[in-house]
C-alpha cells in the first residue's frame, strides 16, 4: 500500500470538491456499516456514539490524516489520539476503512484474545496511539507529542478526539492552556458534542456550554460545525490545516445514532441496547439513507 497524503496546496475545482465529498460520504457509510456489524457481535454498546462520529472519522481517516497503513510506527505519521476509549468501536470501524486493520478482524471486537478490545488500548491494536478510557488524558499526551515533534523538527500533526463529557475533566483544561501557551499549531482537538454522557444529557450532568467561547478564551482557534455534514467538516479541517500560531479545535455537533433513524429517534442512551432483529433493520435504513 502507498502512503496516504493529503495535498494541502491548490484549491480543488468545484467538481473535484464534489467528488471528494461524495467519496468521504461513501467512506462514512462503510464506517457506519462496520460499526453496526461490530455492535451486533456484542448485542449492545456504544453504537449510538459510533454512528454519530462516523462522518468526523471518515474525514479524518480518509482525507486529513497522513499515515502508512502498513507501517503504524512510521515516524512522520500524523498522530490520532483517541481519548475516549469507549469510542473504540468507531475507531476500529474507521481504521478498517483506512486499511490499518483487516476488515474481517472486526468480528472479533470485544472477544477474548482479540486485538480489538471494548476500550481502546495502544498495546492491543496497531495504529492505536494511546490507551484512552480514563478521560482527560488525551490532550495532555498530545501536548507532549506536539512539543516533542516540533523540538525534533518533525512536521507531523497531532489530532485528539475528545467528547463533550471529557470537558468535565480539569486535566483537559490544563492541557488546553498548555497547548496555547506553547503555541502548538500542530495540535488539532476535535470535540464530539453529542450532548450526552453516562448519567444523562450533558446540560444536566455538568454544563459545558458555551464550549466555543471557552476554547477561544483559552487561546485556541475554535470552529464549530455540524459534525454530520461532511462538506462543513471538510471545509473546517481545510481551514484548520492552514492556520498557524495557535492550536485549533473543531467542535462537532453530532447526533447520536446518526444515519439510522431507528436509533436516532430512540431514547438517548450512553450504552445502547439493540434487539437482535433490529440490526438488520438498522443496516437497511443505513443503506436507504445513502441512496437518498
Amino acid at each position: 500500500m502507498t502512503s496516504l497524503s493529503t495535498p494541502r496546496t491548490a484549491a480543488p475545482s468545484a467538481g473535484d470538491q464534489a467528488e471528494r465529498i461524495a467519496r468521504i460520504r461513501q467512506a462514512a457509510y462503510r464506517i457506519r456499516r462496520n460499526a453496526l456489524d461490530m455492535g451486533e457481535v456484542q448485542g449492545q454498546g456504544y453504537i449510538g456514539q459510533a454512528l454519530g462520529v462516523a462522518d468526523v472519522l471518515a474525514v479524518v481517516y480518509t482525507d486529513q490524516l497522513r499515515f502508512r497503513p502498513e507501517d503504524p510506527h512510521w515516524p512522520d505519521r500524523d498522530r490520532f489520539l483517541l481519548s475516549i476509549g469507549h469510542y473504540a468501536i468507531a475507531a476500529y470501524a474507521a481504521m478498517a476503512e483506512a486499511g490499518i486493520i483487516p476488515l474481517e478482524e472486526l468480528e472479533t471486537y470485544g472477544s477474548d484474545e482479540s486485538r480489538l478490545p471494548m476500550s481502546a488500548m495502544a498495546s492491543y491494536t496497531p495504529g492505536m496511539e494511546i490507551s484512552g478510557g480514563s478521560l482527560g488524558h488525551g490532550l495532555g499526551v498530545a501536548t507532549g507529542m506536539a512539543l516533542g515533534l516540533r523540538h525534533l523538527g518533525n512536521p507531523a500533526r497531532v489530532f485528539n478526539l475528545l467528547s463533550d463529557g471529557e470537558l468535565d475533566e480539569g486535566s483537559t483544561w490544563e492541557a488546553a492552556m498548555s497547548c496555547a501557551h506553547h503555541g502548538l499549531d500542530n495540535v488539532t482537538a476535535i470535540v464530539d458534542v453529542n450532548a450526552l454522557q453516562a448519567d444523562g444529557p450533558t446540560a444536566g450532568v455538568l454544563r459545558t456550554e458555551p464550549v466555543t467561547d471557552k476554547w477561544q478564551a483559552f487561546g485556541w482557534h475554535a470552529l464549530r460545525v455540524d459534525g454530520n455534514d461532511v462538506a462543513s467538516l471538510v471545509a473546517a479541517f481545510d481551514e484548520i490545516g492552514e492556520h498557524r500560531g495557535s492550536p485549533s479545535v473543531l467542535i462537532c455537533d453530532t447526533r447520536v445514532g446518526s444515519g439510522v433513524p431507528l436509533l436516532e429517534t430512540r431514547e438517548k442512551a450512553h450504552f445502547m441496547r439493540v434487539e437482535e432483529h433490529e440490526w438488520q433493520i438498522a443496516r437497511t435504513q443505513l443503506e436507504e439513507g445513502l441512496a437518498r
Partner: protein
Amino acid sequence: MTSTAPRKKLTTSAMIASFADPGQRTASAPFGHALNRLAEERPEIVGLSADLAKYTDMHVFRDAHPDRFFQMGMAEQTLLGAAAGMAEVGLVPFASTYSVFATRRAYDFLCLDIAEPGLNVNVVGALPGLTTGYGPSHQATEDLAILRGCPNLTIVDPCDSVDIEQAVPALAAAPGPTYLRLLRGAVPTVLDEYDYRFELGKAAELRTGRDVVLVSTGLMTMRALQAAARLEADHVDVSVLHVPTIKPLDTEAILRAARTDRLLVTCENHTVIGGLAESVAATLAFAGVGNRVVPIALPDEFLAAGALPTLHDRYGLSTDAIVARVKRELGGASPATGGPWAADPAPASA
C-alpha cells in the same frame, strides 16, 4: 500548652530544609549537574517541570539547555501526560515536581500514560518522606506506598549525592519508567567513603556486623551508618545493607542478610505502611523466613509542621533515635513497643 519562660526554639526555615549535619560534606544540586552531563552525551534527554524547576535542581539543566527544557506550569497532570507524549516520539524526559504532586495529584497520569505503555519517562519527586517542615501538604510520607503497586515502575530512593549522580544515567538507560526520590540543594556526600557504586536493582552491604543488620534506604542509610559507628563504640557490631532501589527489590540480598540470628532493623524515610519495612517483611514471609522485622519509619499519621531536626527526633528518624531503638531492642524490650501491632495473641486452636 503551658507557657513558661520563652526558650529559643528551632524554626521551620525554608520549604526545603537541609538535613545535612553541621560541617558535613555536601554537593550542590547533584541531580541538575548529573542531568547536564548526561545531556551532553544523549541529545534525546529533555527536562520538564511544573513551576518547580528552581526547587528540584532542574534549573541547572534549564540554564544549560534552555532549548531542551519545557516549563509546563503548575499543572502536574499535564506535566506527566506531556512527558509521556515526548517519550512516545522518541525523547527521554526527566519530569520534576514535588513528590506529593507527582504521586497524589497526578497518579492516574503516571500510571496510565507512563507506566502502562512502559515509556522511558523519569519522574523526579522532591521532598520525599519527611524532608520539609511544611506539614502534610508537602510531606510525601506515603509516596512509596502509592507507587509500589504500579506495574512496570522502577523506584529509587538515593542516599546522597553519590547515589544521585550515578542513578541519573542508570535511570535514563533503563528502558521503562522510573521514579526518583530527589534530594536537592546541598546534598550530603557520604557513599564515596565506601567501596560502592550505584547499581539499579541492587542492594549493597556498606559495612558488615555480627549483632545487628540495618536494612536502609534513602537518606536513612546516612543515618544508619552514623548509628552503626556510634553503636560500635558501645561494642555493638552493626551491618548496613543499603537498598537504593525499592522496586524491583533485591530480595536475594535481603534474604541473605536475614538468614542469620542478628537483629533485623529496617530504616526508611517513609510511613511504616507500604514502604521498605513491609517490603522486607513480605520478602521474608513469602520465603518462609521467620525473623522479626523491627521497623524504623514514620508513624501512620499526618505529621506535624516544624523544624526538620525536631521532627526527625520526634518521629524516630534521627541518628539518636536509631541508636536508642537498637539498644532497646537488644535489651529485650517488648516487641510490641513502638508499633501499631498487637503483642502475640494466643494461638488459634485447630
